[in-house]
């Protein structure tokens, strides 16, 4: 049976060219980069190369790149790191501000949300800036959410569930204005802007100067690179404390012997995906719009979640009413189609997707949710197969459902 993988937002297969680039760094070049001998130096050179290559894409300095163990870890380091550095600076100068505040949105990935919630438990104020019905941050509300006690803003570049792209550049400009204003008014407290760009990495511009971010998270597993590899871009001057302690690698911000193969692989993956970014984006966006149009014709009561245009090219997120997402997912799985759902029934907590609910959609929409995320190996033929199979699954499940929601 054919297998159609439409869960690329969960993770991507490792590109064979990435695998090839990584291969020597398991048992041919294996020295500890911290060692002075030849083998160690070889490893160190490889890391330096990777750092340079990533810095070139991000338009930053190589020393502003910190390698971590995952996107989640990068998010944790950015958020906890900024908060703890600020607390440390308070204790040193004996300076008390009116309280510290972190601004984020309700549709962030749990790596950001739960880290912010942890800080809330540790005494920080947490403010959720509102998103509109398509999941786009409302800038006017965002401006109001920021006060003199805001030390960190964390807004994702593109959403992992609904693919909505946030106005990062505009947010960056707002933050720049706030920074300038604070200097003018002699306010010492810093304000940093972090974005999680894991989902955006293969499709959008990662130039940190244009985006105006101070911290940016990337990972390998969404761009055909290795899993268990993350990057945190840290703008020079950003005060950060580590969350992992030990040998002092990565400028003391992330101790632990470097994952050389992973680092090399991630750099290669980013290079490959950014090189083909524009043409691949255009190809997938066309497929995306084709699928959304066709499925709306073939199936009744289908709703698109997220913004129709401000959307990642690979993301299709729909709610099919009167039936439940996990049941659809299992039927699709039986036909060799792999996707995901935000339904309560498929979550550990039995709570439906926080993202769909944050759009102001009722629970029925979250429970009838399906997400198809394409990748560079997805073809029109794959989508046509889904378009053939899905309507039958929907009508079968509807034929045993007692629910008939009005929209």
């Amino acid at each position: 049976m054919q297998k159609i993988y439409l869960d690329n937002a969960a993770t991507t297969p490792t590109d064979s060219r990435v695998l090839k680039a990584m291969e020597p760094y398991f048992n041919k070049v294996y020295g500890n980069p911290g060692s002075l001998h030849g083998s160690g130096r070889e490893s160190k050179t490889a890391i330096l190369q990777a750092r340079k290559s990533i810095a070139k894409i991000l338009n930053c300095k190589p020393e502003e790149i910190i390698f971590t163990g995952s996107g989640t870890e990068s998010d944790n380091l950015a958020i906890l790191g900024v908060a703890r550095a600020f607390l440390t600076s308070l204790a040193k100068s004996n300076f008390y501000s009116s309280g510290e505040c972190i601004v984020t949105s309700a549709i962030e990935h749990h790596a950001v949300l739960y880290t912010c919630e942890q800080l809330e438990k540790e005494g920080f104020d947490l403010v959720y800036s509102k998103v509109d019905k398509d999941g786009v941050l409302i800038l006017d509300d965002f401006k109001k959410a920021i006060t003199d006690s805001t030390i960190l803003v964390s807004i994702m570049y593109a959403n992992n569930e609904i693919g909505t792209i946030q106005p990062i550049k505009e947010i960056g400009e707002i933050i720049k204005e706030i920074k300038a204003d604070r200097i003018k008014r002699n306010i010492d407290a810093p304000i940093y802007f972090h974005t999680d760009a894991c989902q955006a990495a293969g499709y959008l511009d990662l130039d940190v100067q244009k985006l105006g971010v101070d911290l940016l998270t990337l990972n390998g597993s969404k761009i055909y690179g290795p899993k268990g590899m993350g990057v945190l871009y840290v703008r020079t001057g950003t005060k950060l404390k580590p969350i992992v302690f030990g040998g002092g690698q990565e400028k003391g911000l992330r101790s632990g012997t470097e994952n050389i193969a992973g680092i090399v692989g991630l750099a290669k993956a980013l290079e490959l995906s950014q090189a083909k970014r524009k043409q691949e984006s255009a190809r997938e966006a066309k497929l995306r719009d084709y699928f959304i149009k066709e499925i709306s014709k073939k199936v009744s009561k289908v709703v698109l979640n997220g913004h129709a245009e401000k959307r990642l090219p690979n993301n299709i997120n729909i709610s099919i009413l009167d039936i439940e997402g996990e049941a659809m997912l299992l039927w699709l799985d039986k036909y060799g189609i792999f996707c995901s759902t935000g339904s309560a029934c498929d979550s550990q907590s039995l709570e439906p997707s926080h993202v769909i609910l944050a759009l102001g959609r009722p629970y029925e929409y979250a429970n009838g949710n399906l997400r198809f995320t394409m990748g560079k190996y997805t073809t029109k033929k794959d989508l046509d197969y889904v378009l053939k199979v899905l309507p039958k699954i929907v009508s079968d499940l509807r034929s045993i459902s007692p629910v008939n929601v009005k929209i």
Partner: protein, 220 residues
Amino acid sequence: MKTKAKIKKTDVASARVGDGWVYSETVKDHFFHPRNFLPKMPKKGEFDAEGQVGSPQCGDVMRIWIKVDPKTEKIKKLKWRTFGCASAIAATSMFSVIVTEKGGMTVDQALAIKPQDIMARLGGLPVRKVHCSVLCDKAFMQAANNYFRNKGQHEKIIVLGHKVIDKRLNITDHDIEEAVLEGARTLLDVQKKLKVGVGDPEAIPAIEQLIKFYLEKYYG
């Protein structure tokens, strides 16, 4: 080790083991090939009674129709429609089989079916999914009550009275039952969900007793 081997063999985590997410072959079979469901809404008088529980908001809705032989009181037909995940569909399907197989059960006999009887026949369910299978017996109880009402057997109607355990928060034994079904195992778990007993420490012994009772009932 024994439990691990068992999981591998049956491809399912029993409620007791907990963390697994894989359905048993029986669950898959009843999900992909549901028995006794009603593809079209019934005509008037086609059934003797019906019952429904759940809401699409919480993710599961079940509706059950029954046809009872007036002479033998045996359930000749039990049909259903379910909105929900695989385990909800499979559990309703299995329930309909249990009730109607071997000539059918009487309404009283069918009322005695416990959630764990359905789960046992399904070859186990992941612990988070237990509440789905518990819904079909509740839907049936509604149908049975309606049946008794129609037949004038008012003394048989089952009234579920809920006892208030925490007066401050108005939390009932039913809320604690739900919490246990959703995975709470200890007083602390239940308190995380319900804040029960936090402002009413006198209620704690009763809460602990109820947790023990429901753990035994559903996972025992």
